[in-house]
Symmetry: C2
Subunit: 270 residues, 2 copies
């Protein structure tokens, strides 16, 4: 399969998955998403779908397909740029911050990157305030099923990578309760890699929609809401201080609204 066909298949899939998430979240919440298109500074662009609902306090789903040339400053940090500074990237990114502190915040993304090389990345993870043990276990099981469909070692590998990545060294705290984190996925079977990435999306879809439905009718106290706001402060700290994607996007002139879609609707610091 040539690279143009791969680009077409992956970008179509991310769009299809975006539609699937948005449709189901609208059914759960009873609120509609608003869509905003944006242009990349070089070529391509994306679309942010944003909902501020009754259950989802703020949920954003962004898809984008962009291309361009890396500046010299960043070339050295990216694989496959030895011979050409050109890149093409397509992906979907989702961040859900819930009104209820009983429902975790969710983060998911998958992407396909093409430079001189090409690879997949992404993952899903959850950040609860009040920890719903059954639902956390369910989330991890969904991630495990997606991983097991591709390779018996993937789950352990990508779960560990997630724990290592979503960590705040300055607080000696994990951002949340983990999930999976995949980078530079490229085996000798592109079709199989792509199927795995699709499975990660579908499993995350199942995990989030099931957990939100399970927990959406639970009540909460003001004190629990305060804890959630402080937890969100930590989420902000991670994303702005440590997240490589955020720093990379901001410092290479990416679309600020799309990159900072991940910010919670509100946060507190003590």
């Amino acid at each position: 399969m040539d690279i143009e066909e791969k680009k077409s298949l992956t970008s179509s899939w991310f769009k299809e998955l975006r539609d699937k998430f948005c449709k189901e979240f609208e059914i759960i919440d009873g609120t509609s998403f608003e869509r905003t298109k944006w242009d990349h500074k070089y070529e391509g662009g994306g679309e942010i779908s944003l909902m501020k609902g009754d259950i989802f306090e703020k949920v954003g789903v962004n898809i984008s397909t962009v291309s361009g040339e890396f500046d010299n400053d960043f070339k050295s940090e990216v694989k496959g740029t030895e011979e050409t500074p050109n890149y093409w990237a397509s992906g979907i990114s989702l961040v859900a911050h819930m009104h209820s502190p009983k429902i975790p915040a969710f983060h998911f993304n998958t992407r396909f990157i093409v430079t001189g090389d090409s690879w997949f990345g992404g993952g899903g993870d959850l950040t609860p305030t009040i920890k719903p043990h059954k639902e956390i276990e369910f989330f991890h099981n969904c991630m495990k099923e997606a991983c097991d469909s591709a390779h018996p070692e993937y789950y352990e590998r990508y779960k560990k990578a997630c724990d290592e990545y979503f960590y705040l060294p300055h607080r000696s705290e994990a951002r949340g309760e983990g999930g999976i984190f995949i980078d530079h996925l490229k085996t000798d079977d592109w079709k199989k890699d792509f199927d795995f990435i699709k499975e990660v999306g579908l499993s995350t879809f199942q995990a989030i929609t099931t957990i939100v439905r399970n927990l959406k009718n639970e009540s909460w106290s003001n004190q629990e809401k305060e804890l959630q706001l402080v937890k969100r402060g930590r989420y902000v700290e991670f994303n702005l201080l440590w997240d490589r994607g955020t720093a990379f996007g901001i410092k290479t002139g990416g679309n600020t609204d799309a990159i900072l879609m991940s910010m919670p609707p509100s946060a507190k610091w003590s």
Copy 2:
């Protein structure tokens, strides 16, 4: 004057100024500061004074005197470390976030750094939501008076440096309405440099206390408070994405509570 005497004079001044700020803020607000001592990971430490009052929603004043050795990663970023990795640093840092969106947020710090070289740094600036023109002008005039007491070119130079530093490239926005920003101040007259740094502190004291008293009885709307919370989101973005002091402190294992004392009590993102 030998360097030990300079260390002693500067650290004593920062403590004296801390006491002056805290005492006056307690009179204005009618609330007491709480003090927490902290130890540096190598040597020395500091003291955070924090007040959550009726006018000051959150105001922190931190003083610290620390020493140690720079890791190789950071040595190259700091002046005077060619021959020795040792450093000594003392300073005062103040951040005030007000309940009222009619009163600007204030930031001030001054410091004396000793490596193989030695120099002063610091400054003061303000971040209003609703812009009080008379008070913004008064703030700048106070900064100008401090600068003019030392050198006719300082005000223009340090005002420009402030505008350049407190800028969010990813938003094409200034953080606030400026002030002065001084780095690597070292003339051939240490005593004069120190006098100037003291003047910056005293002028900032005059500016903040006058402006808070001027504006503290003005009422505000919910809509104005919302604007303040969004403005604070930008403040968080600047401090975590772009502020060199924050990144340096966090990544060299500085005291997280002291470094992130600057975080607003609450913030929002749309």
